[in-house]
Amino acid sequence: MVGRVYIPVSCFSYAKGALYEYPTLQVKLFNLLGEELELELCIDTGFEGSILLEREAYEFFAVGELPREAWRRYRTLAGYIPMRTARAFAELSGRRMEVFVETPLYGGGKRLAGRELLNAIVLVLDGPRREACVAHAEESA
């Protein structure tokens, strides 16, 4: 039988929710000036983008902003939400990748890690331990 073994590289504790805890990721982000900001992001598979931040944190990345005509927008239950979009680098368990950082053009924001980022990593959600682990996958015979 062929199986797969997931070896945790780094694990992050779940955060307290209203009733149940939720998974988070600790990510080192760099703006295009090379300055670093380490943030805890909620894992949100319902968010299709890469990283969502509130306005104050987003300003740190405004030095790599996309032209206004290329800003993205999100379809939600409450209508469309236009975003400001910037380029940044993310470092997660020693791996560096290019990411998009976004914030709503109007109103507040949240700190989320969305599918664009989650699809680039191996992530193990260990519910009973309340840990989200970035892992390394190995095939085993």
């Binding site: 983008g49 790599g64 902003e65 993205r72 939600t76 239950l77 409450a78 939400i81």
Partner: protein
């Protein structure tokens, strides 16, 4: 003041039509509206914030960027800084600027397009 005749080729028909309609609405002759627009455009720069200035610089340079698809064009302090092969090169160029910019437009030429993505229920509390 000396008056002159102006012939413009290749102007966007839709924009021109809107411009003419707006001139009529404001009770201006086309030449008066154009003079007003030119004046505004020439004097606007000091009033723009950094984000507007960099986006304006991008729009002005956009046509010249054809042929550089896949590269990154960088705009800061209201002007084009350069075209670069990689995001690492962009980063190096931005770090070398003095003073350090707070805002820059970094466009991946021919690639950056406005996308429409989805965001499920979590957004309702916004």
């Amino acid at each position: 003041m000396k008056k002159t005749t102006l012939v413009i080729k290749g102007a966007d028909e839709r924009k021109l039509r809107e411009f003419k309609a707006e001139a009529v609405r404001r009770g201006l002759k086309l030449s008066e509206a154009l003079e007003e627009a030119i004046e505004l455009w020439l004097n606007a720069k000091p009033l723009l914030d950094e984000v507007d200035a960099n986006n304006l610089a991008y729009l002005r340079a956009k046509r010249q960027l054809k042929g550089h698809e896949g590269k990154y064009a960088v705009f800061a302090f209201g002007k084009m800084i350069g075209v670069f092969e990689s995001l690492e090169d962009v980063s190096k160029a931005l770090r070398s600027l003095e003073p350090k910019p707070k805002h820059a437009v970094v466009a991946k030429i021919g690639v950056d397009k406005p996308g429409e993505l989805e965001w499920w229920g979590g957004s309702i509390s916004l």
